[in-house]
Structures are given as structure tokens and as C-alpha cells.
């Protein structure tokens, strides 16, 4: 049975590499999800847009807690409470990179 894996991206420098890493699991036949925890993303280049679309094509998704990323970039809205519930369904949970307190 395919494993379910959720990445959480706590700071801007880790978002797109974290999406790439999650996609790496999606192509290994896992259900892979990513969640932008805090940052409003200025711009998403074509390469990263393709990675997000590819994750969706493979039954994964990229969510955002900040609403700006939902409105501006089409990421899927998620609240902190919904993230907590989603994590309960996961086989593997990946707090990715470093939490930058200066970005709070």
C-alpha cells in the first residue's frame, strides 16, 4: 500500500526545494503533500509551477496556511487545525528545513 507523506515548509528558502523533494516521493508511488506554513510567496517560476502541477496530477497537493498564496498562486487553502487532522492520516511527517523565528 502506498505510503502517505506530508512535508511542512516553515521558511521561504525551503518551500520549493521541499516541493521538489515531495515530488521525488510522488514519483516513487507515494502520496506526497506539502504545506507552506508561514510565508507569502512573491513569485513562482515555471519550473516550480510544473512541479506543483505534477504533484497534483499524482494525487498529491501543495497547501498554504497564509491565504495570500491561495489567492495569488492557486495553492490549496488549509488551516492549522486542518493540517493537524491531515497529519493524523500520514505515515510519515517531515518538518522540513529550519524554522526561522525572524519570519514569524
Amino acid at each position: 500500500m502506498s505510503k502517505k507523506v506530508c512535508f511542512m515548509y516553515p521558511s521561504s528558502e525551503y518551500i520549493f526545494d521541499g516541493v521538489r523533494s515531495a515530488l521525488g516521493l510522488a514519483v516513487e508511488n507515494m502520496y506526497a503533500y506539502g504545506v507552506v506554513m508561514k510565508n507569502e510567496i512573491d513569485e513562482i517560476n515555471d519550473y516550480n509551477k510544473e512541479n506543483i502541477e505534477w504533484m497534483r496530477d499524482m494525487e498529491g497537493d501543495v497547501y498554504s496556511i497564509p491565504e495570500g498564496n491561495v489567492e495569488k498562486h492557486g495553492l490549496t487553502k488549509m488551516t492549522l487545525e486542518e493540517l493537524g487532522q491531515k497529519l493524523k492520516e500520514m505515515d510519515v511527517i517531515v518538518p522540513y528545513g529550519i524554522m526561522r523565528s525572524t519570519e514569524d
Partner: protein
């Protein structure tokens, strides 16, 4: 399910909230890596005893 929460730093409020939600209904344990000399031997025992480990930031 046995859940182990490992903290690499002092958990922020959002992490505390997520821990509360994911821990609900689980037998939980925790380990603080944010100390001068973590007891890695104990941590490995806790990790191998748990069904799932989450290493928070």
C-alpha cells in the same frame, strides 16, 4: 499507536497546537534534542519503541 515527538528547538505556538492535535488518541512520549548533551542512547530506544516519530524543528 505510540507517537514520539522530538523537539530540535523550543516549540513555537503553532507546533504546540499541531502536537496537541496529532497526539490526541495516541500514547505519546517526547524527547528534547535542544540540550547541551542529548542522551542519544535513550533517544534511539524511544524511536525504536515508537510506531511513529515526528522530529519537529
Amino acid at each position: 499507536m505510540k507517537l514520539l515527538n522530538v523537539y530540535r528547538s523550543e516549540p513555537a505556538d503553532d507546533v504546540k497546537k499541531l502536537v496537541d492535535i496529532v497526539s490526541d488518541g495516541c500514547e505519546t512520549n517526547s524527547f528534547d534534542l535542544n540540550v547541551e548533551a542529548p542522551d542519544y542512547d535513550k533517544l534511539v530506544d524511544m524511536v525504536t519503541d515508537a510506531d511513529k516519530t515526528i522530529c519537529w524543528w
